[in-house]
């Protein structure tokens, strides 16, 4: 039996990673964002799981429009940090866990989620920035092995929020049935409201984002019921990335304890959000 001990939702804006890589976190533009991360980082540093699962999307780096998997899982022993065109971020490559990946793959397949399999995968900022939000100074290695689950949020039509939430629930059951790890952390990434292209570029919707931050904790079904079009209307064409938070939330218990949340506008063109949930059923007093 493995237990998901925490769920972390965070934006994965590339400039957040760049600000860290270039030592700009104390810059007045960036300082409030990183200040908001601090309580979550301190808590996470004391609660390192045996394995983590990170739900993210690729941004035209590992996959292009030739083949777009709706849902995919990595089964590799290692995942290289992608070169997005101008060199790799100087952060460690990611160590995977093929045995756990295969367990999840098979369990999800048996539940009707036919995931695409990546035996080899370079992970881009969508993956490494959340790892940096979690662990700002990883040194030689990230705190534990990490398994990628990839969701298509770029090519229309994206999966529904309801399907993402259902995937998360099945993922939670798959994790619970695994004997090879004691504790698991799960990350849902992307969002919050933003739109990068077209007449609405620069769009931010703090009202929607605050509703989402509240509901992801207390009423995820409400978010799972929103249509693709509603996400794009309310959160922008790239804000639909928020459906990946629902995969994370689905894998957690109905009742969770919020450790910390933060919200900051802007990280480049994006509203950056973070929410950390303690999922342990036996809560320490």
């Amino acid at each position: 039996m493995s237990e998901v001990i925490w769920g972390l939702a965070t934006s994965h804006v590339p400039s957040i990673g760049a600000a860290m890589d270039r030592g700009m976190t104390a810059d007045p533009v960036w300082e409030p964002l990183f200040e908001g991360y601090q309580p979550a980082r301190e808590w996470l540093a004391e609660h390192t799981p045996d394995i983590a699962i990170l739900v993210y999307n690729d941004h035209a780096n590992a996959v292009d429009l030739d083949i777009v998997p709706t849902f995919a899982i990595g089964t590799a022993e290692r995942y290289r940090v992608a070169d997005e065109g101008f060199g790799r971020r100087s952060v460690p490559d990611v160590v995977g866990d093929p045995e756990f990946s295969f367990h999840i793959l098979q369990q999800l397949m048996d539940e009707g989620f036919d995931l695409t399999v990546f035996s080899e995968l370079d992970v881009d900022h969508g993956f490494t920035v959340p790892l940096s939000v979690w662990t700002p100074e990883p040194g030689e290695a990230w705190p534990c092995p990490v398994i990628p689950i990839m969701v298509n949020v770029i090519r229309y039509p994206q999966p529904t929020a309801a399907r993402c939430y259902a995937l998360g629930k099945a993922l939670g059951r798959a994790i619970a049935g695994y004997d090879g790890a004691r504790t698991v952390g799960i990350l849902g990434t992307g969002g919050m409201s933003h739109q990068l292209a077209g007449a609405r570029s620069g769009f931010i919707n703090p009202t929607f984002d605050h509703m989402f931050l509240e509901a992801i904790e207390k009423d995820p079904e409400k978010l799972a019921a929103l249509s693709r079009e509603e996400y794009i209307r309310q959160a922008g064409s790239e804000g639909i990335e928020l459906i990946m938070w629902l995969v994370m939330r689905g894998a957690l218990n109905a009742e969770v304890r919020k450790v910390h949340s933060a919200y900051h506008v802007p990280a480049s063109n994006t509203a950056a959000g973070l929410a950390l949930f303690d999922n342990r059923t036996a809560q320490p007093t």
Partner: protein, 94 residues
């Protein structure tokens, strides 16, 4: 067009593109309108002709341009104006 943008992740491809952009567009079978949009760096036309922002951005990066610059182009602002609008809380009324 998106395949062309994707190829620009490689240094060799960027050099080939820079040496003769029109020839590089022909190599990828682009239409005349797409080629004109790329040669003229008409970012809105690239979107209209099927370009995806994450792919178009590969070309912008090569040109040393930011997503704030592109955001300004799409919304009729300068890069500085667009950055200021984001710092002021983003465009909440669109």
């Amino acid at each position: 067009m998106n395949k062309l943008f994707m190829s620009l992740r490689e240094g060799n491809a960027r050099r080939e593109f820079r040496a003769d952009e029109a020839a590089y567009c022909r190599k990828f079978g682009l239409s005349e309108a797409q080629t004109t949009a790329i040669l003229g760096r008409d970012w809105q036309a690239m979107l209209d002709l099927g370009g995806s922002i994450f792919y178009i951005y590969k070309l912008a990066m090569m040109d040393g341009l930011s997503l704030q610059y592109l955001g300004g182009v799409f919304s009729g602002m300068s890069e500085a104006e667009f950055k200021a609008a984001m710092l002021a809380g983003g465009r909440t009324d669109v």
